[in-house]
Amino acid sequence: MCNNNLISLDQAEIGDCIKIKRLEVTGTMRRRLLDLGFVPSAKVVAVQKSPLGDPIAYEVSQTIIALRKEESSKIFGEVVKNESKTDD
């Protein structure tokens, strides 16, 4: 895979596993997201969309966290396809 296929988390399909590359969020929210496990090189799985498509729930370090597009559109990573999540 070439490395130009970064997508933002909100573009992920349900079931996609995304390896985070960078966050363009700033300030307290950035800190908060980092604390919750949205850190570069972490793998995140999009698990569920709400009826209107926003927010979207992601599984990150063994917990489900829902993010609004406001934040998820500023978190970028590459899709590392593995539908059935293998344990790490």
Binding site: T28, R32, D35, G37, Q62
Partner: protein
């Protein structure tokens, strides 16, 4: 050492890892524990004795971090920074260690009097999670103890470790995160300045890190507290 004084212990940890359960186990209190986040809004305080020493234990609010500036995190952080517990016990959930270690590392940046308690060890076993506490102890440089607060597993070992840390029989060398060269360079410049202001009161490295993070609140709180305290102390011949 003044043995008569009660020893201050703080319980820190993510929400819902069993801090309050451990608190109750240690103190025998029936402080209500609930299975939802954000339950411990303010500090609960209790006491117990072990091997002739009196302890006061503070149950801090559950937080993922000490940096995001929510009220809960501020309460927890200010307690560790300013009340300076003799020991801070960081309670981790054995089934989600990775997520929990963030807070542990943050606490270890503030103080080196840390014991890490891996709670819910029986739950982890059920899930097939095996934890090698010796490896963790080596890497983290502080005591790591596996417990089940609910089933009272490992509590004696914990009490013993507390006792040995207080009597000075255990010395810790908490793992310190090394930051990028750029940050470390700035730290080198800042730390001596911080050292002059806070001395031994707060870890100069930690305070410098917060300033680099853009957070001046700790330094401000420190100055305010110092001013308030100075009226009573009159430590040297300043006037």
């Amino acid at each position: 050492m003044n043995q008569k004084q009660t020893i201050k212990i703080a319980l820190a940890g993510n929400p819902n890892v069993g801090k309050s359960t451990l608190f109750n186990t240690l103190t025998g209190l029936k402080q209500h524990t609930g299975n939802w986040p954000g339950k411990t809004v303010i500090l609960a305080k209790g006491s117990f004795s072990y091997k002739g020493k009196d302890y006061t234990i503070y149950d801090l609010p559950g937080t993922y971090s000490l940096l995001s500036n929510s009220t809960d995190e501020e309460v927890a952080r200010d307690f560790i920074v300013f009340e300076k517990p003799d020991i801070t016990i960081v309670v981790l959930d054995a089934t989600t260690i990775e997520r929990n270690l963030n807070l542990a590392l943050q606490v270890m940046e503030i103080t080196d009097q840390v014991i890490i308690c891996i709670n819910l060890i029986d739950e982890a076993k059920k899930k097939g999670i095996i934890i090698n506490e010796n490896v963790m102890m080596d890497k983290l440089g502080v005591p790591v103890i596996k417990i089940s607060a609910r089933n009272k597993v490992g509590i004696n070992l914990l009490l013993d470790t507390i006792d040995r840390m207080i009597t000075g029989n255990i010395s810790t060398t908490p793992y310190q995160i090394k930051y990028s060269n750029e940050v470390e360079e700035k730290l080198k410049q800042l730390i001596p300045k911080m050292d002059k202001i806070v001395g031994d009161d707060i870890s100069p490295r930690w305070l410098a890190l917060r300033l680099l993070d853009g957070d001046e609140s700790i330094l401000k709180t420190y100055m305010r507290r110092k001013q308030m305290g100075e009226g009573e102390e009159k430590s040297d011949g300043y006037k």
